[in-house]
């Protein structure tokens, strides 16, 4: 069924709450797919999908860069101020929607960590006192297809606060031949939106806990606002759905998969293993989730 995908299709895996099993679902769907696909790890603050693929390929966990075939630096534009040319008009401060500039004694004081690289200050300065400078905020890493899976991830520099430009970059430059699996960052704010905004379908992974349920509702609201189709996977199901099943029925949301709570799966995952490889009977389960997502996406 997956081999019949003719147009590029992006399936994102998101959750709201962290730790519900986004990466588990994404990595194991990819491994179960047995078709050429592109895998984007968009959790730029803590990318970890490569750990599973590199263990599978026999690389040591502490030797990340050697595993990747290419690493490129990622830059954003930030303003650089020349006080000697500044006439103290304060227009740069006025146009800055992010309050990254304040005027102290008629000179601009700039805080790079608040800057969103909108370039407004650069455009309004009539004195030529502001010049565009580049700031390296992270890296993009590529791994050529191995076992049909071409991996790209984004890794934000320590102390940087803004991952969306980096995430947008890998999502936009993805040239997946047919199928792309996106492992989205947790939460429902800008980083998540950057990862899923142009996806064809979002798999919302939840767990039957009060936090899992609460964040699922936020993630559903986000997906609806973005007008991206979505369905729910309930992970760590231990015989009690809590309120999730009822909620999905009321809201007319399709549950496209249920993964049982299984200590052996947790053990394999914690050891950096791919569940569908080490527990072959689970392959069908993860493949079915992916197939359900694909058939919903193309509907």
């Amino acid at each position: 069924m997956l081999n019949k995908i003719t147009t590029p299709l992006k399936i994102a895996v998101a959750s709201g709450k962290g730790g519900t099993g986004k990466t588990s679902v994404a990595v194991n769907m990819a491994a179960a797919a047995a078709t050429a696909l592109s895998f984007l790890d968009c959790d730029a603050e803590a990318p970890n999908a490569h750990l599973f693929f590199q263990k599978q390929a026999g690389f040591r966990a502490d030797n990340h860069d050697e595993f990747f075939d290419g690493v490129e630096e990622f830059y954003v534009t930030v303003p650089e101020f020349n006080e000697n040319l500044c006439n103290g008009c304060g227009f740069c401060k006025t146009v800055c929607k992010f309050n990254a500039i304040t005027m102290i004694l008629n000179k601009p004081l700039f805080f790079a960590e608040l800057c969103h690289s909108c370039d407004a200050c650069l455009k309004v300065c009539s004195m030529g006192a502001i010049k565009a400078a580049k700031k390296m905020t992270g890296k993009i890493r590529h791994k050529k297809a191995d076992r049909d899976i071409a991996l790209t991830d984004a890794i934000l520099n320590v102390s940087e606060a803004k991952s969306p430009p980096l995430i947008k970059k890998i999502v936009k430059s993805d040239s997946g031949p047919s199928l792309t699996i996106i492992d989205a960052p947790p939460g429902t704010s800008c980083p998540l939106v950057a990862a899923v905004y142009n996806a064809d379908y979002i798999i919302l992974v939840t767990e039957p806990t009060p936090f899992g349920f609460s964040d699922l509702k936020l993630a559903v609201e986000t997906a609806r606002q973005l007008k991206v189709k979505f369905g729910v996977v309930i992970n760590k199901y231990d015989g009690d759905f809590g309120d999730i099943k009822k909620y999905c029925e009321t809201e007319n949301i399709r549950i496209i998969g249920i993964i049982p709570f299984d200590i052996q799966m947790a053990r394999v995952y914690s050891g950096g293993g791919i569940i569908v490889d080490e527990m072959p009977h689970t392959r069908e389960l993860f493949l079915k989730i992916l197939e359900n997502a694909v058939s919903e996406a193309v509907k």
Binding site: N99, T102, I104
Partner: protein, 105 residues
């Protein structure tokens, strides 16, 4: 000398607001004329980010020399230092009592 106190209300007898950048009001007391001016800080209070540094910029514009407040964040602190404005943290009680306590010290 102008002393600014972050305040929860518009009067000098209002309680001190522990927040600097997101204080509701700022009372600026002039020790020479013994009068005070109230600055409504609502715009900064509702900012998504950068409230502290904008409030610091306003204080520099008002030629404030000393600020009494609960706590100043790292970015606001940098802006105040650049402007040469001193600040004292952990102020409490009413703005009037905070100013009196500071003047006695």
């Amino acid at each position: 000398m102008k002393i600014a106190v972050t305040s929860t209300g518009p009067s000098i007898d209002s309680a001190v607001d522990e927040r600097f950048g997101r204080a509701r009001y700022i009372i600026i007391y002039d020790t020479l004329s013994k009068t005070f001016e109230t600055v409504d800080n609502e715009t900064n209070l509702n900012m998504a980010q950068g409230a502290g540094i904008q409030t610091a910029g306003n204080m520099a514009e008002k030629k404030v020399e000393l600020i009494l407040t609960g706590r100043v964040g790292p970015k606001a602190s940098e802006a105040l230092n650049k402007a040469g404005i001193k600040y004292v943290e952990n102020a409490s009680g009413t703005c009037r009592s905070a100013i009196e306590k500071q003047q006695a010290a």
